[in-house]
Symmetry: C2
Subunit: 267 residues, 2 copies
């Protein structure tokens, strides 16, 4: 029986999900793949993101995985169905459904904002799922394509970042949302600035923790959880690992000893 | 004898070079490849950018090209030597040398600034070539990783873009440069804002025009120029062509009738 948990993201951002998984499931072995050569996915077409997602999944399936987490909002929005159809025997968890569930629990005004990449917002994936679950909910989606480069530039406390956030969020502030889904794994790093712009009354939903909880439930329901021993995490990337290790340690809050470069185009 | 001019870029930016080529060489047929599925190159490693550049060149060589223009500063900085070694019979022009030549003609203070992606600036390619040609020149390189996403967001006249440019260029303003190389094909679209930040005394060098002039010279010297008939331009991309066609027309200043998607990973 396969024994590992596979996780992929377009780059380093999915490590926020790994961090939550390690907290909840410390005995599991996690195999992480970050597609650092082809990052970002957020400005690419559904067909291309799905092709990349299938390659990533095929690589992870060779690493003896029992469950796959798509820790990338764009790939979850555009490719989750294709992945589930291609690998019907494998439980596959995206980050959108857990975020939607958490947002619906949190909202009282029934006005929910979603911030994400251009591809995620254009896909309407959050929109569709939120209104399918709660037809009375109003959804305000906002693409924030500058947030990922701002985070990667390390400008998480700068005045210009505040100005850009204020510009992006002026529409949903006027609508009076009370819950904002941070629909991209990079965005939690801007939590402080986004919180200042939105005000204290708006709850920010970070889907990493919600996704990890869902993984825990599935493993327990299917009696597939590891119950003994010490967990581990192995990292694979498609570009040279240097920058991934440096930035990744900040996101993970733990030292990354090694990340192995693979040729993802072969899969 | 091969008869076309091949041009590649990581995406749509290289069309600024095509525009200049079409002006200077209206009888030539240009084959353009934009690697829109794997864009951007600017935050990737030299090994990955070189792998992608070689694939792009192999595809273009199958399109009957007599000369190759690397219309991407990052690929020119990281991969030009590898390309020239792999295809020794093919004349290959990057955008760095033409930009350097123009800057050295323009500067009087012998203080030259270079703005580019993280990969271009880290490679020190401009730096090395400028000081090799003119050992008395002082070079100030500045990575501007937010400029490409700002251009792609269409924020070319916004206040925040000015603030970001002011932050990036404060160091080279203090140094007193009189010439600034726009070392990325996207940056000419920010010419107005960069000009306002730097002041009228600083000359902005746009390498697209310089590269096109070099192509013209080579074709004439080698007697390879087309002397009869009407030129043409064929466009190939690695992601779906929709966005390329829309943004491309703005950069090219002409209608793009069609762009064909290819699977670049096969080359």
């Amino acid at each position: 029986m396969p024994k590992n948990i596979g996780v992929f993201d377009s780059g380093v951002g999915g490590l926020t999900v790994v961090k939550e998984l390690m907290k909840l499931l410390p005995r599991e072995t996690i195999i992480y793949f970050g597609d650092t050569a082809r990052v970002p996915y957020g400005n690419k077409s559904a067909a291309t993101v799905t092709k990349y997602s299938l390659q990533n999944a095929r690589f992870l399936l060779q690493q003896d995985i029992k469950l796959l987490v798509v820790a990338c909002n764009t790939a979850s929005a555009l490719s989750l169905t294709a992945l589930q159809e291609s690998f019907p025997a494998l439980p596959i968890i995206g980050v959108i459904e857990p975020g939607v569930n958490a947002a619906l629990k949190a909202t009282k005004s029934k006005k929910v904002g979603v911030a994400g990449t251009l591809a995620t917002i254009s896909s309407q994936a959050y929109n569709r799922l939120l209104t399918a679950r709660a037809p009375d909910v109003q959804v305000y989606g906002q693409a924030c394509p500058l947030f990922v480069p701002l985070v990667e530039e390390g400008w998480v406390h700068k005045k210009v970042t505040s100005l850009i956030a204020a510009e992006y969020f002026s529409g949903m502030k006027r609508l009076g949302i009370d819950t904002l889904i941070l629909g991209c794994t990079h965005y939690p790093l801007l939590k402080r600035i986004i919180g200042q712009v939105m005000g204290k009354k708006v709850k920010l939903v970070d889907s990493a923790q919600e996704a990890a909880l869902e993984v825990q439930q599935i493993l327990e329901n299917k009696e597939m959880a590891v119950t003994k021993g010490i967990g581990n995490c192995l990292f694979y990337v498609s570009d040279i690992p240097d920058k991934f290790i440096i930035v990744g340690q900040q996101l993970l809050g733990e030292k990354i000893q090694q990340a192995t470069q693979i040729d993802i185009e072969k899969y």
